[in-house]
Amino acid sequence: MAHTIRVRAIANGDTVQVQSLIQHPMDSGFVKDSAGKLIPPHYIEVVTFAAGNKTVFTAFWGPAVSKDPYLKFSFKGAKKGDTLTISWVDNKGMHDSTTAPIM
């Protein structure tokens, strides 16, 4: 289900700029619902971006990251037409991944 990830990677000269949006509740575990019960923690722990077989970006996230996180970074060493693979794993073991061509 590549439904939770939106990504756009654009090559400009020798750098590639990546922007991504991931749909995730990112519950910190400290928030109560309308009934006054704690919402259990549910957040992304690892996000990985790989160009080809090489990992270019890894983020270790925690409960302080916002809902539906947005991420932007640049890297060198890939060119237009390469494939970027994005994946995340959360603290409940749920995961998702998708691929996008570098434009």
Binding site: H3, T4, R6, R8, Q19, S20, L21, Q23, K67, D68, Y70
Partner: protein, 284 residues
Amino acid sequence: MRRVIAAVAALAMLALTGAAPAPATAGKSNPAADLKAFQDYFKTSFPKVPFDDFVNGPYAVNKGMRAQWEQIMQFPPYDFELADGKKLFETKFANGKSYGDCFPDKGIGIAQTYPHFDAKTGQVVTLVDAINACRVTNGEAKLDVSKGPMAEIAAYMVSTSHGKRFDVTIPDDPRALAAYEAGKQFFYSRRGQLNFSCASCHVQSAGKRLRGDIIAPALGLVAAFPIYRDAWGNIGTLGRRFVECNAQVRAVAFKPDSTIYHDLEYFLTYMDNGLPVTGPGTRP
């Protein structure tokens, strides 16, 4: 002396109201004339804003907000909900029919004609109403009219009308005109502890600051609904925003699907006639 003060006060009131698009003089209502006065007022107040840009609300009148918004729109925050809306819209009901069967053109590219006046029932029908009516005809339960699946389905239907221009008609029917007049009266009537009318902010103070926010001009105000509002963190309908607006002036809000809000939506959307449909939108 007191009489003089009263007279001066009355004059001052006149001068104040004179600056705003004056509600039509008593007597027969004339929506077409109101429309022209309303749109001309904003065209003169914001001569640098292209007409079609009014649909972008605060972003049309403030550079800084526009720059931020353009960044946000790289990944529209309503994107996921819009995709869900498309899925819901295409999902069949238990009886095998789907939303498309309730609408002309299978429900695609028709949102610009809502709200419309139903001559049979004598009621104003908004898109949200029509979606719920469709569910009821097909034996499904009604949806919450403010948020969730309803907002998502409406967002998808509106998105298929992108670029089409609002074409709300007010037939020459006393009931339709009464609904229009009721909406107009609501728009210009002060209410709540703060004693603000919709027009106090969206006409008289359009483009100015309200604390950290920029007030959207009334022209184009409803063109981007349903909206993803940062304060909500999800997508919501116009009814939901009306409730919030009324609460913000410390008035007792009506139900999001109350007749008076339908009338208000009828009035406001009619005032947007000629502007392109841009929903779903995003607002702070």
